[in-house]
Each structure stands twice: as C-alpha cells, then as structure tokens.
C-alpha cells in the first residue's frame, strides 16, 4: 500500500478512537450540538492549517499566522463598523487581501532577503501583535458595530443531513481545503511547492523560480489566514487585541498530525483536514472532560506535535526498510 494512503487510514482510525473514547467519558457527547460545536470551531482553524501546510511543504514555516488572523479580524471588523453596507463577498475579499499582503511581506523577506522563515515569521508574529495593540488603542470590536448578516453567519445552515446541521462557515473552510487540495495534486504550478520542498538545489537546477514559489506559498498562507480571520470575526463578534493568539501552534499541530512532513516535500490536504479535526476534537473535548484541567490543553497540543513527528519518523523508517527488503 502507498505510504500516504496508510497514513491517512491511521489518522482516520485515530480520530475514530478519540471520538469513541470521549463518548464514554462525556455525557451526551455524540450529539448534534457537539458536532456543531466542534465543526464550527475546526472551521476557523482549517484555513490556516491549509495555508501552513503549503508553507511547510516548501520547507518553510509560518509562525505569524495567529497574529495575521488577529490583525485581519480586527481591521475587517473596524472597517465594517464604518462601512456596514459593504457586500459580503467584498468583505471576504478584503479580509483575504489584507492577509495576502501580510503574507507577501513574509514571503519577500524569506525569498529575496534570504532570512530563514522561522526568524522572519517569528518577527512578524510579534510585530503584528504590537501593531494591533497600538492601532486599536485597546478598543474592542463588538457585535453591536457589525452588520447583522455577519452576526447571523455562524448560525446560518448550508444544509442538513440526517438531522445534523452543517454551517455555512464549515462549508467555506472545507471549500478552501478542497480547492487547495485539487490545486496541489492537479496544477503543474502547485506541484512546484513539493519540488522546492523536496530538494531546493535540484529545483533551481530544474529551472524553477525558487523565490517566486516561496513568495506564492506565503501569500497563499496569508490569504488563508485572512479567511480564518474572517471566520473568527463572524464566530466571536467581539474582537480584542489578543484575537488569534496561539493559533500558530494549532495550525502547526494540525499540519504535523495530518502527516505533512516538517522537512518539506510531502503531505496531502486530506491529511490536513483530518489532522485539524483530530486536534480540534481533542481540544474541545478536553474542556468538557472533568478529569483533566483545562490548563493541560496546550500541553496536550505540544505533546501531539511531538508524538506525530516521532511516529512519522518511526513509520517512514520502517517503510523504507520494508521497501528495501522487497527490492
């Protein structure tokens, strides 16, 4: 069996096991309410996980996306309070545009400034947060200043299936993953992300425009962080300067658990979606689980990242041993 298929199956099994475990621990766990709770919460994370995956595939990392999300949520909310008549599609474009702009700054510094991405995005992570504090003057965006359609958006149903409601926000987030997934496997231009991450030297030798591919990855990551920011704004309505804080950790966890190689070059969007759902299911379930203090949630996230990478390394070593035996 193809290693990637095996990985997806293992992930799906882990997700199933997690759900079964919590259903024995938490009363009324397998309910519509819980599905809505987890699916809408995962929907906010999924776009940044998709963006993070693209960046990680190119052998980089984007630590700034939590701050990008916060800045986008705040600026978009701020603008809407002055221009409530703006068309919803344009609002979405505005949010993703701001994100893409921030991503472009990261990308330019990494691609042409030759600064390692971990440094650049660690810098913008802090810079953007400080900018937000300064810009907002500690004011909070409240639902009162937002147009009604946006406040209603999180409760809006796209469709219902077997009595389970699937929210519009969930469909939006899934759409971003499906579109990017199709691009990554079907578009020649998107295959370059894998090439660049797999062997940067060979990519240059093969005539691939390495800086351009890197820039594109960060712009996409920024734009998707913009989408997450928009969903965050819709979901919570009240935006303070700490909006999106810590989401970079969640995105890295989702990506790594989802089987994207932290060394670049491989990964799939199916994996990222399952990884995101798994990470968020655990995160949400822990808050309802009386046995464990809520403060352990971050610790568990950290543990998951380490465990995923460890298991991944172990598995690929075993697989390469197996394939060597066959040949």
């Amino acid at each position: 069996m193809h290693p990637q298929t095996l990985r997806i199956l293992a992930l799906a099994a882990a997700l199933l096991a997690t759900v079964l475990f919590f259903s024995t621990q938490i009363d009324g766990y397998l309910s519509e309410r819980m599905f809505t709770r987890i699916s809408t919460s995962a929907a906010v994370i999924l776009p940044i996980a998709v963006g993070q995956a693209i960046v990680v595939i190119t052998r980089n990392i984007d630590l700034s996306i939590g701050s990008t999300m916060g800045v986008v949520a705040y600026l978009t909310g701020d603008y809407l309070s002055g221009h409530p008549e703006l068309h919803p599609v344009l609002v979405l474009c505005l949010a993703m545009g701001i994100g893409a702009g921030i991503g472009a700054i990261n990308g330019i510094l990494v691609a042409w400034g030759r600064v390692p991405s971990i440094i650049v995005t660690l810098g913008t992570l802090a810079l953007l947060r400080s900018f937000l504090v300064e810009y907002s003057d500690a004011r909070t965006i409240t639902t009162a200043s937002l147009p009604q359609w946006l406040v209603d958006l999180p409760q809006a149903n796209a469709f219902s299936i077997f009595g389970i409601d699937v929210r519009v926000t969930v469909v939006l987030a899934l759409a971003s993953a499906v579109v990017m997934g199709l691009c990554l496997s079907r578009l020649r231009a998107a295959r370059r992300f894998f090439a660049v991450g797999s062997n940067p030297d060979a990519a240059v030798m093969a005539g691939i425009n390495l800086p351009m591919v890197t820039l594109l990855a960060f712009v996409l990551s920024g734009a998707l962080a913009g989408l997450s920011g928009f969903l965050f704004l819709a979901k919570f309505g009240n935006i303070t300067v700490v909006a999106g804080m810590g989401f970079e950790l969640k995105s890295v966890a989702a990506v790594v658990v989802g089987g994207v190689s932290i060394l670049g070059g491989s990964g799939s969007m199916v994996g990222v979606v399952i990884g995101t759902v798994l990470v968020d299911t655990i995160d949400n379930s822990l808050t309802r689980w009386e046995l464990v203090s809520e403060f352990w949630r971050d610790a568990l996230l950290g543990f998951l990242i380490m465990a995923a990478v460890t298991v991944d390394t172990f598995m690929s070593r075993q697989l390469s041993r197996l394939s060597r035996k066959e040949s």
Binding site: L187, R188, F194, S198, N199, G207, G265, S323, K325
Partner: protein
Amino acid sequence: MTVLELQHVSKSFAATQALKDMSLAIEPGEIHAIVGENGAGKSTLIKIMTGVHQPDRGEIRVGGVAVTLRGTQDAQGAGIAAIYQEPMVFPDLDVAENIFISNRAESAVMNWRRLYAEADLLVAKLGVKLDVRRAASGLTLAEQQTVEIARALSLNVKVLIMDEPTASLSAHEVARLLDIARALRAQGVSVIYISHRLDEIFQIADRVTVIRDGSHISTKPIAEVTPEGLVHDMVGRAIDSFAVKTEASPHGAPVLQMQGLGRAGVFRGINATVHAGEVLCFAGLVGARRTDVALALFGIAPATEGEIKIDGAPVTIRTPAEAMAHQIAYVSEDRRKMGLAMTLPIFANISLASLGKLMGLFGLINAKAETAMAETYRKQLAIKSADTRVEVGKLSGGNQQKVMLAKWLETKPRILIFDEPTRGIDVGAKAEVHNIIRTLAGQGVAVIVISSDLPEVLALADRVLVMREGTQAGLLPIEEASQERVIGLAAGHDMKGAA
C-alpha cells in the same frame, strides 16, 4: 554554424580567477569532450553555459546570436541542459514527475495518466527498467541519473552537458550511457561530455578540448590526439598512467576475517580475510551490494548472518562507535551525505572523529592542537587551500576526499575501508590517492577498497573479491585477475581459461 559558442569568457570569484579568456565552439550533432584537472574551471564553465553564473566579460552565442542566460530556465529555453555527477532528483516526487518537473511544454493542469505513459516511453527509450510511479527516494545513483537524462531528453535540448556522468556507474551502465550519447548525436543533439575517464572519451568523442587553470589549452579532433598527449596537456607535465599490479605485496597476519557474512535480504555468504598490509578490492557492477558489506563492517547497517573476526577473535559490530573501537574506519562514497560536514571548516572536519584526543582541561577542546593536527594533514596530503579555516563545501571534490581521508587517518585505523575513493576526481589527484593507499598498506594497515574503476582495482589490489547481486562471485589473487575475468564474474559467467 555553431550551436553554442563562448567567446573570450572570463569569470572571477573574489580573488580566484576561475575562467580566463575562454573561447569554445560546439558544432551541431557532435560529442565534444572537455577534460581538465580538478580546479581547471570545468564546473565554472558548465555553470556559465547553464546560466547559473554570468560571465564577467565575454559573450555566449546560441545559434550565432548573443544571449544572456540569467538562470537554468533561460538556458533550458535556449536548448541547453545539464546532468551532473551528483544527480539532482526530488526524493518525495515519483519518477515521472521528476522527469517532467521543468517541462514548460506540458499543460497547466496535470494529466497524470498521460504523464506516466510519456515517462514510460522515455525510460524505455533509454533501455532501462524503472517503475515511473515509484518515489525517487529509493532509487540508486545510477537510476537517479537515468531520471535526469530522461528529464533532459523530455526538454528536446540542442546541447546536453554531461558532467562526469559515469563516475558512479560500472561497465554495464557506462556502455549503455555511451550508447545514449551516440543516439543523441544521431538525432542532431550536441553532447558536451566531461569525464576523467579517458578511455570513454576515446570511445565516443568527436573532438576534445583541454582546459587548464581556467584557460583553453587545445581543441582537436579525437583522431589527432593520444591519451598521453591529453594527460600531458591537462597537467602540463607527463604523468605515469598507473601500471597494473602483477603480484601481491608481502603482508602480515590476518586482521579481519569475514565468515559467511550477510545481512538478511541484502547480501550473503561473504568469505574473505584481509591481512595486515594487504589491499582487498571489492569489484562488481553497481547494485552488487558491495557498499552494503562496508556498511555492515562499519556498523551502519549491521550484519545479521555469519561472523566477523578481528585478530582471530569473533566480534559484534552494531554501531559505527563499536566499529571505531575496533579501529575500523570507513571513507564513504557519498562525501556529502555520510562523510563531511560541508558547512564546517577543514580543521573541524578533520578532528571530528578524534575529538577525545584533543580534550584538555574541563573537557574543552584544545584549539591549538586541533589546528596543528589539521595543518599536518593539509601539508601531508597536499590539500589545496590557503588554510584550514576554509569551509569544506568550498573545496573541489578531490580536496574534499583528502579532508575525509585525513579525518579517518587521525583515528589511527588498523582496518581502513575506502568506498569509491577516486570517484569524480582528476588524474593527478587520483594518483595521489593511490599512493596514499599503497603507503598505508605498506605501514601495515589492512585495506579494503570498493571500486567500480577496473584499472584502479587492478592497480591497487593484492586480491580481488568480485560480487554479483549480493553474493560473492569469486575471490581472485591479483596474479589471476584480469579485466576480462573480473567483468565476466561480475556479469555472471566466469571466463577462466577463455582467451
């Protein structure tokens, strides 16, 4: 009408002038060999032709028109591509995608089915069996090279530069590669063939250019040159081509014994003894699993069957540390991956395997002793570098090889394993490495040399162990070893007694 022309090209890096007023003209459909010692400027020349570097002065003309090549993409657009000594593949992508990765003629949306079909076709054209859906990560060097050639073919290039293409291939694959080069020529493609192996050049080249110290020395039709003349032009002095050894050197007590040595699924049944002062050469085709025997002896991929004895006593070697404790050293084939820390300076690489000796007060490294140690080797092995603080990645292949050798010599090994010690290094440096190996054996070290270069095997070995498909095909004393005999054993039929 030339297809590619360099006119008075010069290029400098900091203080070094890599190319001086270099002129070169490539005719359509010719195989044009370029020879020169390491550091002669071949790499820079290739990088200028493929757009990686731009000339400081001078001009590049493609089909008579002056062009500026701002990168490999430009060069490919102009119909120039290169394949390198160290293949450049994408380990996470499959073979087919590796072949077509830079092909701009392909559609924007991937048609995977067609991609695989076309890749199959191209690979078949090369006469190779290769599953194009396989990830490139598991490919051997020879297979990776096939992928690279297929990639260049898919680009419909007018000029294909082959940089040391046969350095890692054995007789069988070399012959196939030369056939491919001829087929390209028949289709009107010009091949620029860069190799240290003069016999190959005389087999296929139409013309040969010699460069030395960044300057053009001569370009002649192959019929007008002799090997001796070429070597003379390359080094600027006459050099002895290495003589074939006719009898074994005197040697001492058995040091290393392998009895039925094997590793499940990889190799099996290796029986040989190496004595002090003896050179045992492993010959065979690429893929005969010779390197795996070395990896087992050095504990990287330990043996699972049979026995290793050192000085007659059975030992277990499960890690490189255990191997080093038995005074075994392994100078690997893949300098980049297993041998050297490319970003560290020369001295740090040399001292890496013997830091224990340099420890002083509170376990700190004695920097003075470390530098002195490196300096000794720089002089002794003639490592070409102003001082030992230079990053190893900036040295030429031959000099990197010497640094790696210095690292292991400092561990004072009793058993020294060389894996393709002269792969991709020039005639002069090759002779130096051979001398070092002979000197070490003369000092009583038990030496194992793995080599795909038959003349090298016959020049160095006291005994030749021929491997085929993971088994021992024969163990010949040097008196009985001939090129024909060794190739015969490696390919699967013993030609003992045949003419």
